[in-house]
């Protein structure tokens, strides 16, 4: 039972991890693997009480944070050129470039801003759910969201003014 429930969550977990890692697919899948291992070994502590997806997102988030701390990398020092080719998903060239810019800019956001943008904008969590998951007060979540959005716009503007609109 655990296996089929978990398996149904894997695509969503991979998407979330890919976004947290700003497109680094290898690191993202390593985190998903660690997350699933942890979930299988802690299955008893979940016991169906809470939302399985949110529980898994929270486990993955902590593993990602451990990784960020372990590397000691400030994401704004990451090389934008490390942004992998797998991100060129869009059919039209201009759009592909803009999306690649977005991935690069995402990778340069401070981790706490990036995770709020991803949890809200991609995963569709409410601000209260993000506050609960990150352990930050609601006001802090809001300010990370606002600053993250401003910073993201600024980074994309720096990278290429003509491409800052994604559409």
């Amino acid at each position: 039972m655990a296996d089929s429930q978990l398996e149904a969550q894997i695509p969503g977990l991979r998407r979330y991890a890919r976004a947290l890692c700003a497109g680094d697919a290898a690191l993202a899948d390593d985190l998903v693997q660690d997350c699933l291992e942890r979930a299988l070994s802690r299955w008893q502590s979940w016991r169906g009480e809470s939302d399985l997806r949110l529980w898994l997102l929270a486990i993955l988030r902590n593993l990602w944070l451990d990784e960020v701390r372990r590397r000691g990398t400030r994401p704004d020092l990451m090389d934008v050129d490390d942004c992998p080719d797998a991100l060129a998903v869009a059919p039209r060239q201009g759009q592909a470039l803009a999306l690649r810019d977005l991935a690069g800019a995402l990778g340069r956001l401070a981790p706490e801003q990036r995770e709020v943008l991803v949890l809200v904008g991609l995963e569709g969590l409410s601000y209260a759910q993000v506050a609960h998951m990150t352990g930050a007060p609601l006001g802090t979540v809001m300010s990370r969201l606002k600053r993250g959005r401003d910073r993201l716009a600024q980074l994309m503007h720096e990278d290429g003014p003509a491409l800052r609109r994604v559409k």
Binding site: A2, D3, L6, E7, I10, P11, G12, R14, R15, R18, A19, G23, D29, V32, Q33, L36, E37, R38, L40, S41, R42, S45, W46, W55, A58, I59, N62, D66, R69, R70, G72, L87, V89, A90, Q95, A98, L99, L102, A103, L106, L117, V118, V120, G121, L122, G124, S126, Y127, G135, M142, L145, K146, R149, L152, A153, R165, V166, K167
Partner: protein
Amino acid sequence: MSERLGDDDLHAYVDGLLDQDGRDRVEARLADNPDQALRVRLWQDQNDGLRRLFDPVLDEPIPPRLLPAAIRSHTWQKRRLTALRVAAALALVLAGGGGGWWLRGQSSTEAQVAREALAAHVVYVADQRRPVEVPGSERDQMATWLSKRLGAKMNVPDLSASGYQLVGGRLLPAENGAAALYMYENSLGQRLTLYVRRAPDDGGKDLRFQGRDGTLAGVWTQGPFGCALSGPLPREDLEPLARQVWKQMGAARSS
């Protein structure tokens, strides 16, 4: 209708978190406010971009190594790696020098307690199967046993209010005799350890922190004990937990 809408409302609108009434109010507002409308459009584009960028991952075939059956069978392979990983983690955590959190103006006792605590943390936290000798369900017997071995009364702090349940404890050798190690775990599998051994009182100095590579220990001396709470947490998260432990251990001594 045209009352001032806060930024929070605009963001909530972008993120689809408003009800119909709220959406109507924001849209009416935006119609009169091209500047705000532009910002809202920009944020909507960002959300759109995130979905376009990462939604295709949902349709990728799942790599076989991530399937639950594979994860179960990989677990033993990973255990073999554990010895190497522990050695590497120990070297990093205990290595002196740059990059880590190091005690400033610390007593040598605190530094020694911190080193022992971090080593014990790294070694036992990695153990999925047998991280403790005595399970947390035998809290009272464990407290009696370890108090006897350390030669002073000691209670086992309760961190359940912060989401950490007691996994259990074990007896360890320390530089100057016996040490107790208690392990706690939250529902996400994050583990903390509390390391306690006898140590000369350094005069009630404050908490100090030591560690690196994502593992930090908060160290203090208290009565006959030197104590360290270690975990994969940043200082601002570890500190309140360490203070709770400090308080609870102090309460136990006077009771």
